[in-house]
């Protein structure tokens, strides 16, 4: 006990102001925020922050925007519980608490010059989007880009305008599917794995990034492997319960890893023997 102990607490958030709100679906909203200290958040794609509403609590939320010079960043939040519901009532100009960014990020550097296959299910698009935007902003640094997006139904599709843009771009391939169509749906129907037969990849040059609900991983990874992508080039982002984001509270522990610090982004080959991971 010799080192000087800090007078600040890592549990104390800094304030950020909401500058723009966009309703994405019935249950999701996009928030654009900026830190009151005027500095950029300084995150890497795939990292998350702890969103704090005083009196309600905290929730880990992925940063959905790509790192940039600007000092704003975006969160896309689905209403499921206390914090995520309370924030839906916030208006622009109101303030929330932010801790972080925390955690590991997608292999931005490692993928440079390679192909990337993004597989995003439902709200998994939120963390993936940060990386996708980054790649699109640096399009020339990467080779073939394929984006697969699956939603349970058309109403749950997020970022509609962006999806349309992606679909219309000819420098990337965008495929999507819904589990349960509505009468207006003309696209693909079926779980996300049904999109795999529709494209080819060169396994020697391809990275695969998978983010989605827990059930999705096992099946998508099987498909990716079937395309010949090795485990050490598959990246996943995992969700766990988190209370501190500091590697202490124990809630996010999977075997010997703490998702908040060793994750949320994992190289699949590193966790193949973590029984509880997927």
């Amino acid at each position: 006990m010799t080192n000087a102990i800090a007078e600040t607490s890592p549990y104390v958030p800094q304030w950020a102001e909401i500058s723009r709100i966009e309703q994405l679906t019935n249950t999701e909203k996009l928030f654009e925020l900026s830190l009151l200290n005027g500095r950029p958040l300084g995150h890497r794609p795939g990292q998350f922050i702890e969103l704090s509403i005083m009196g309600i609590g905290e929730a880990p939320i992925s940063v959905s925007s790509a790192p940039s010079e600007r000092n704003t960043f975006e969160l896309a939040i689905r209403k499921v519980g206390n914090v995520t519901s309370a924030v839906q009532n916030f208006k622009t100009g109101q303030r929330v608490g932010i801790r972080g960014p925390y955690g590991t990020s997608f292999p931005v550097e490692e993928c440079r010059g390679k192909n990337i296959l993004f597989v995003a299910g439902g709200i998994g698009l939120v963390p993936a989007r940060s990386f996708i935007h980054y790649v699109l902003n640096h399009r020339n640094d990467y080779k073939d880009i394929i984006i697969l997006f699956g939603a349970r139904n058309p109403g749950e599709r997020l970022f509609l305008k962006e999806l349309e843009q992606w679909a219309n771009r000819d420098d990337i391939r965008y495929l999507e599917s819904v589990d349960r169509p509505d009468p207006n749906w003309t696209g693909n129907v079926g779980v996300i794995t049904t999109l795999f037969p529709k494209f080819q990849v060169n396994p020697a040059e391809t990275y695969c990034v998978v983010v989605g609900p827990p059930v999705m991983y096992r099946f998508v990874i099987l498909e990716a492997r079937a395309k010949g992508i090795p485990d050490n080039r598959i990246f996943v982002s995992l969700e766990r319960r988190m209370k501190c984001g500091l590697g202490k509270c124990g809630h996010c522990q999977i075997n010997d890893v703490y998702v908040c610090q060793d994750g949320p982004v994992f190289r699949y080959s590193d966790i193949t023997d973590l029984k509880e991971a997927l």
């Binding site: 607490s9 009196g55 929730a59 010997d256």
Partner: protein
């Protein structure tokens, strides 16, 4: 090693002097059990006990601890709360000292946790060697029969006097300011060694029948052992094994608003991985849904998962979990021995 000798009668005066300057926490007997509690006279202090029901971790990681106060109106404001009452904790067995060293590692690892560290810094730790061994203890197996550091003072009962090892500068100050002691003679030193050796061998009696370094290997082999499910069938998901453990530190974080609905506190509270909803998330998914998964997780955490972080087991062999478990399934010795047996049989 700086070893001093304190007459038996002097102990009372020492405690009395400490009481005049510090809050003193020590072991008292209550309802037939040994517990850590605040002492207000030297008579209450118990130096001869087998094992306290609860470890001293509450002094650094209280069951409920305020992290900060906040106010939402008129201004959004937060002020962190650090409570670090100067305190003397008198009568800590070596295995608990070792456990505190483990918690120190966890809470000083990056990013450090000042809430814990400040309490820790303001505490004097006075150890005492056990004279008796609780029926469930196996600390000798876990390398926690004695410690060479992690205390300010360390007492050993030499029958007609106490040997006091000085472990830190503040320990030195305490003892020189508040008590009369003399240097230990060679005889006294060797008596202390003999006592400790005897104790060590006695603690082995209830312990493992194989060296503890085999535990990680055993666990790696035993993911599918039937013992997890058989025992977990009896598990009450009560978390008693977590809460009484000197090295368990998981917590939950919650907000509490004051009645004015403008101010409040964010606090943390002990949590336990055996509790049903420990790994449940907002969407309803529970990542350790089954009792078996939760039950197993604790043993793996103690014997395998934490090895990298701690460079040690997350178990010091106090046996408190075994005593606290009403279903009688939490005893690491029984579980590890069983795994060893399965391993031997399987190996044939």
């Amino acid at each position: 090693m700086n070893l001093r000798i304190m007459d038996k009668g002097e102990l009372k005066k020492f405690v009395q002097n400490l009481l005049a300057h510090y809050r003193v926490e020590g072991v008292v007997k209550n309802n037939g059990a040994y517990l850590y509690d605040t002492i207000d006279s030297p008579e209450q202090l118990c130096m001869d006990f087998d094992c306290t029901r609860y470890p001293p971790k509450k002094y650094f990681l209280p069951p409920r601890e305020t992290l900060f106060h906040f106010s939402t109106s008129p201004e959004l404001e937060v002020s962190p709360v650090f409570e670090s009452p100067p305190q003397v904790i008198f009568g800590i067995h070596p295995y608990d000292l070792k456990a505190i060293a483990i918690l120190d590692k966890v809470f000083s690892k990056d990013p450090p946790d000042p809430h814990y560290l400040k309490r820790r810094e303001a505490s004097f730790l006075i150890g005492v060697d056990p004279k008796r061994i609780s029926p469930h203890s196996f600390w000798a197996d876990m390398g926690a029969a004695s410690v060479n550091e992690g205390f300010d003072l360390m007492f050993t009962d030499l029958e007609d006097s106490y040997a006091v090892e000085i472990g830190s500068a503040s320990g030195e100050t305490l003892i020189s300011t508040y008590a009369r002691t003399q240097p230990a003679t060679g005889d006294e030193k060797s008596k202390r060694v003999t006592l400790r050796t005897n104790l060590y061998s006695k603690s082995l009696i209830n312990g493992l029948d194989f060296p503890s370094y085999e535990i990680p290997k055993l666990l790696e082999h035993s993911k599918e052992s039937p013992i997890w499910r058989e025992n977990a069938n009896k598990c009450l998901s009560c978390g008693a094994c977590n809460f009484v453990c000197p090295t368990c530190y998981c917590f939950d974080v919650q907000d509490e608003m004051d009645l004015d609905l403008k101010q409040g506190t964010r606090y943390r509270k002990w949590d336990g991985c055996l509790l049903k909803d420990f790994a449940k998330v907002g969407s309803g998914e529970n990542f350790r849904e089954s009792r078996t998964a939760r039950y197993r997780h604790r043993f793996y955490r103690k014997g395998l998962y934490q090895l990298d972080t701690l460079q040690d087991f997350a178990c010091v062999g106090c046996g408190r979990c075994a005593s606290a478990c009403l279903a009688d399934i939490a005893d690491p010795v029984r579980v590890f021995k069983k795994l060893k047996q399965e391993y031997r049989e399987g190996g044939k």
